[in-house]
């Protein structure tokens, strides 16, 4: 087993307390002209029950909520914050630096760049792991850290749904360190980019839906192969919350049982873009589904052909 590439030593997830039933949300977005492609019953059959909706806090406040505790701890420990890698899929058009300026000033990290990564959708978390892996393999020092932040808050029905999925509001943050005795060790991190869908051409969307599971299989097998591991040694798969129907397709492609996919947050939280994986891992740790010494895979799928897979060990 190779040495960890990096370790996630701290993380935080914020989900609004208000949850709307999927039936209600689908009705509302249909009335706003979104034309959701599934019936509410079919969507519920995939395991979805509710959509978290933020009704009082701004995106900036949501980001503060998940980042402030982490920044407080690393400031106390004298850790250098080299960069913040930021993903906001639903809230397109937001200006990253302004969302973080107050927060960084408060914790004396005003010179830390906030880099907004786009186009990878729900796979931006794996892009952040891939980039940080390169950083720590090169110039990154043991006292450095990179913070990945995901924050999404829909302001319109067209942000709430792209007609295929419903998106909840949430924010999350994960601190990446070069090495640590405890945390979520990252042993491998790979990306596969097809980028089929760069606009809404029906032919390209159809191509994406008919091939995505093959791309997932390819990147997962690549990670397992280079780590010298097999699927039987993997305790759980934490995947983007795309629902049981999609996961069934992936499970068949990967040759593993569906119950290897961690599904406990599907009903209450649904799909939260890049927050899905951090939420699922934290919840699995909290409930005892994931224990120290367990190996697991994180798999993300960004709409249009962006795929990420990473192998982790919980220490």
């Amino acid at each position: 087993m190779t040495a960890p590439l990096l370790t996630i030593t701290d993380s935080n997830v914020y989900i609004p307390s208000f949850r709307a039933p999927v039936d209600q949300v689908i009705q509302e977005i249909n009335e706003d002209g979104v034309s959701f492609r599934l019936s509410a019953a079919d969507y519920r059959d995939s395991g979805f029950g509710y959509v978290p909706i933020e009704r009082s806090e701004s995106l900036e406040q949501m980001i503060y909520e998940v980042c402030a505790p982490i920044l407080s701890r690393i400031r106390r420990d004298g850790i250098q914050l080299s960069a913040i890698l930021f993903a906001s899929v639903t809230s397109a058009g937001v200006q990253a630096q302004s969302l973080f300026s107050g927060l960084l000033r408060e914790f004396d990290y005003s010179t830390t760049p906030v880099i907004q990564l786009e186009e990878y959708g729900c796979s931006t978390i794996h892009l952040s792991l891939y980039l940080t892996k390169a950083y720590f393999a090169g110039e990154g020092q043991s006292n450095d850290a990179v913070l990945f932040v995901a924050a999404d808050k829909a302001n319109t029905s067209h942000h709430r749904s792209d007609s295929y999925m419903l998106y909840g509001d949430a924010a999350s943050a994960a601190l990446y360190r070069k090495s640590a005795a405890r945390g979520q060790q990252t042993l491998s991190a790979r990306l596969k980019v097809d980028g089929f869908v760069y606009d809404r051409s029906p032919e390209r969307v159809k191509m994406y839906f008919s091939t995505f599971y093959l791309a997932v299989r390819q990147v997962v097998n690549q990670v397992l192969r280079e780590s010298g591991m097999v699927m039987n040694e993997i305790s759980l798969i934490f995947c983007s919350n795309l629902g049981l129907r999609t996961w069934s397709t992936l499970a068949r492609a990967l040759g593993c049982p569906l119950d290897k996919f961690y599904a406990s947050t599907l009903e209450d939280a649904g799909h939260l873009h890049n927050t899905d994986i951090l939420l699922n891992v934290n919840e699995a740790v909290r409930t005892g589904s994931l224990n120290r010494g367990d190996f697991y895979l994180a798999v993300s799928i960004g709409f249009g052909g962006y795929y990420g897979c990473s192998l982790h060990k919980y220490e």
């Binding site: 058009g93 990253a96 760049p113 880099i115 786009e118 186009e119 110039e139 980028g195 089929f196 760069y198």
Partner: protein, 97 residues
């Protein structure tokens, strides 16, 4: 074209469903190239791109990048650049040997 990374830096609001970097990559058949799109950071996007390229190039796997800086119009402020209707810069980046 001998290139490992394609970077797109832009600022203004593009359509939520449009992936410009992916489109450039597909249209020019650069399927082995790693795409990076940095947006909504104004003039900070290019220095951020350079930081990320330093990270990627330090390991030796990535050796050449092309950075495209482009915006087709300024929706937010409704300000058109007087000099050109569609500002565009293309910069080739390689690590110091």
């Amino acid at each position: 074209m001998d290139m490992d990374v394609l970077v797109l830096c832009h600022h203004v609001n593009t359509s939520h469903a449009e992936h410009v970097c992916a489109k450039i990559r597909r249209e020019l058949n650069l399927m082995d190239v790693l795409p990076l799109a940095l947006g909504h950071s104004g003039s900070l996007a290019f220095p951020h791109a350079l930081s990320l390229l330093e990270w990627l190039m330090a390991g030796g796997t990535y050796r050449k990048a092309v950075c495209v800086l482009a915006d087709d119009h300024f929706e937010q402020s409704s300000v058109m650049l007087p000099a050109q209707p569609a500002p565009l810069s293309i910069i080739e980046i390689m690590p110091q040997s």
